[in-house]
């Protein structure tokens, strides 16, 4: 499939600060792509360059194989769902959704608006202003307002960050389902690795203005390319340079095993998490490790000598 959006060696410099450094990526039509990284890593800057709010210092943005660097935001067939939603407070939900269609002098505005309102389940709320809508409803209006334009790529800037945790979980599923149904490519920016892992077809992990790794969620989580990626996507025990995720780290009474890679350790404490328990242990080398085990296996007391072991297949190693 031809990529609908390509970034070629994008560089963005601000006075005394390089926000983006040689960022290249390619997004397939109809796919769900996430840019994941800590705050200040350049992911929002990338989004703003694609939308056209800012110009790159170097490099190219291609939409449908065409360089769009010099096109204004209103000339690019992409649309942004802002973190704050940026709904027009003086317009009601329907007028917000119609806004783009009217500016483009589209046809069949009434029907298209009706369809998209149904799609995001906002029927009955059309005449309310943003201030009269809940956080979740506002987000739906923002989504509808962008999706109704059928953009090549829908850009979402931390769209779930403003929602409370329970609603956030639910919206992850809804957003993903919505993307599948409309078939528009979604480019999601987030700092939440669970969000990126659970929704994306592919994702890119960014750090300090660079892309560290691009791949499917499984690839990036199970075979991280760099120590940063491994650490950002989840906790890692670093044991003699080998990385093992806590859920892959097993624990047994000292001398209990011998078949797997293992190390002796001393229990230093435990944290009850409800569905599981994290046992903290100190290795002979002085390194700290965490083993995430089910409740019934968590019978260890601080000071107990134990053995930490794991399947070699679960080891995270980097090509030297």
């Amino acid at each position: 499939m031809a990529p609908i959006l390509q970034l070629r060696s994008l560089v963005k410099e601000y006075p005394g600060h390089r926000a983006l450094d040689d960022v290249s990526l390619s997004i397939d039509a109809g796919s769900f792509f996430s840019l994941l990284g800590p705050s200040g890593c350049g992911k929002t800057t990338t989004l703003r360059l694609i939308a056209g709010f800012e110009q790159p210092t170097a490099g190219e943005v291609l939409l449908n194989g065409e360089v769009v660097n010099h096109r204004q935001p209103y000339q690019r067939n992409v649309s942004t769902v802002f973190q704050s939603y940026a709904l027009f407070p003086h317009l009601n939900a329907r007028q917000n959704i119609e806004f783009g269609l009217r500016r483009r002098r589209a046809t069949e505005i009434a029907r298209r608006v009706r369809d998209v309102i149904e799609l995001v389940s906002l029927a009955g709320k059309e005449d309310r202003r943003p201030a009269q809508l809940s956080g979740g409803e506002r987000q739906r209006v923002a989504l509808a307002r962008s999706m109704v334009l059928e953009p090549d790529v829908l850009l979402l800037d931390e769209p779930l960050a403003a929602l409370d945790p329970k609603l956030r979980q639910q919206m992850r599923l809804e957003l993903k389902a919505l993307q599948r149904r409309v078939g528009i490519a979604f480019l999601l920016v987030t700092h939440d690795q669970e969000e990126a892992l659970s929704m994306s077809d592919r994702l890119a992990v960014m750090n300090a203005g660079r892309i560290e790794q691009t791949g499917s969620p499984e690839e990036v989580y199970l075979r991280p390319g760099t120590r940063f990626v491994a650490g950002f996507l989840g906790a890692v025990n670093w044991i003699d340079g080998i990385g093992v995720r806590p859920e892959a780290t097993r624990i047994a009474r000292a001398g209990g095993s011998g078949t797997h890679a293992s190390r002796p350790a001393v229990v230093t404490g435990s944290v009850f998490l409800g569905d599981c328990v994290q046992v903290l242990a100190s290795l002979a080398s002085g390194e700290q490790a965490v083993a995430q085990v089910s409740r019934e296996l968590a019978v260890f007391q601080p000071g107990d000598p134990v053995e930490l072991y794991w399947h070699p297949a679960d080891e995270i190693t980097f090509p030297a």
């Binding site: 709010f53 209103y74 992409v78 802002f82 704050s84 940026a86 709904l87 806004f99 783009g100 500016r103």
Partner: protein
């Protein structure tokens, strides 16, 4: 509770002594008769209000309303771009705001006189144009409606700039980006998003310019040269030259009633709060 009431006392004294009492006095004067040598005399009468139906006074009132409306519109047209520019000037915005307020450091009277020196036949503008051989005869820049309008707009422009600036400064820049993102060109963004969201500031500024312009007497007196009589000059004349305090008071009361009615009408729309 009691203590809080006591704290309100100065405000009540202020309002009663400096607002309610003078108002009551003006109202009372307007219902009295002019004495033989000026001053006030019995009996109580509605005659002063009846005199206002004279077409001459109706004309002056309409003129004043038209001048105030024109000043307000002109101020708005000038102030909006200025306010927009200031609100987007980043670190410089405080400097520009100071410049807007700067004229208040000198007396309004002095500043209005300054216009006399600029606009009169031998003034700076005419002299300059003549030296450049652009004109032979001095342009009639003074003592007409245009000069009064200029003086009014000049005097009250800051009252339009500041409230509009206040609303634009609070405007979320993401809304402007969102409009562009949805396909709105700059003009469409301005008309569909920026102006509607600046409406409370535009309304507040319009009220703040319209009211003093409607009652202005200094500017039309100096720059209009007595030919451009506005309702403020009428009031002034009645209290000074004509020595007809009751009629002057009646004109003041009517002026106040009109202003109050217009402002209520204007501000009640959509229930927006002033500033």
């Amino acid at each position: 509770m009691t203590l809080r009431r006591w704290f309100l006392l100065p405000a009540w004294v202020w309002a009663a002594g400096l607002f309610a009492a003078p108002l009551a006095i003006v109202l009372a004067y307007s219902l009295l008769t002019r004495g033989v040598y000026g001053g006030l005399a019995a009996p109580w009468t509605m005659e002063n209000y009846r005199r206002l139906f004279d077409p001459l006074y109706g004309f002056i009132l309409l003129r004043s309303l038209a001048m105030a409306a024109a000043s307000t519109v002109l101020s708005l047209v000038l102030a909006f771009p200025a306010a927009l520019f200031i609100s987007r000037s980043g670190r410089r915005r405080n400097l520009y705001l100071q410049l807007v307020i700067l004229p208040f450091w000198t007396s309004f009277l002095v500043r209005t006189y300054a216009w006399l020196f600029l606009l009169r036949d031998t003034g700076l503008v005419n002299t300059l144009l003549a030296r450049l051989h652009l004109i032979r005869e001095p342009l009639p820049l003074l003592y007409n409606d245009g000069a009064v309008l200029l003086g009014l707009v000049y005097g009250y422009l800051p009252f339009m700039v500041l409230p509009i600036y206040a609303t634009l400064e609070r405007l979320d820049p993401a809304l402007v980006e969102a409009a562009a993102d949805l396909g709105a060109r700059p003009w469409a963004t301005l008309w569909r998003v920026v102006v509607p969201l600046a409406a409370p500031g535009i309304r507040a500024g319009s009220v703040l310019v319209f009211i003093p312009c409607l009652g202005a007497y200094l500017t039309p007196d100096l720059l209009g040269g007595g030919r451009t009589v506005m309702v403020g000059n009428l009031v002034q004349n009645q209290f000074t030259t004509a020595r007809d305090w009751p009629f002057g008071a009646a004109v003041s009361v009517v002026l106040m009633a009109i202003v109050t009615a217009l402002v209520l009408l204007f501000l009640r729309r959509e229930g927006d709060h002033l500033v």
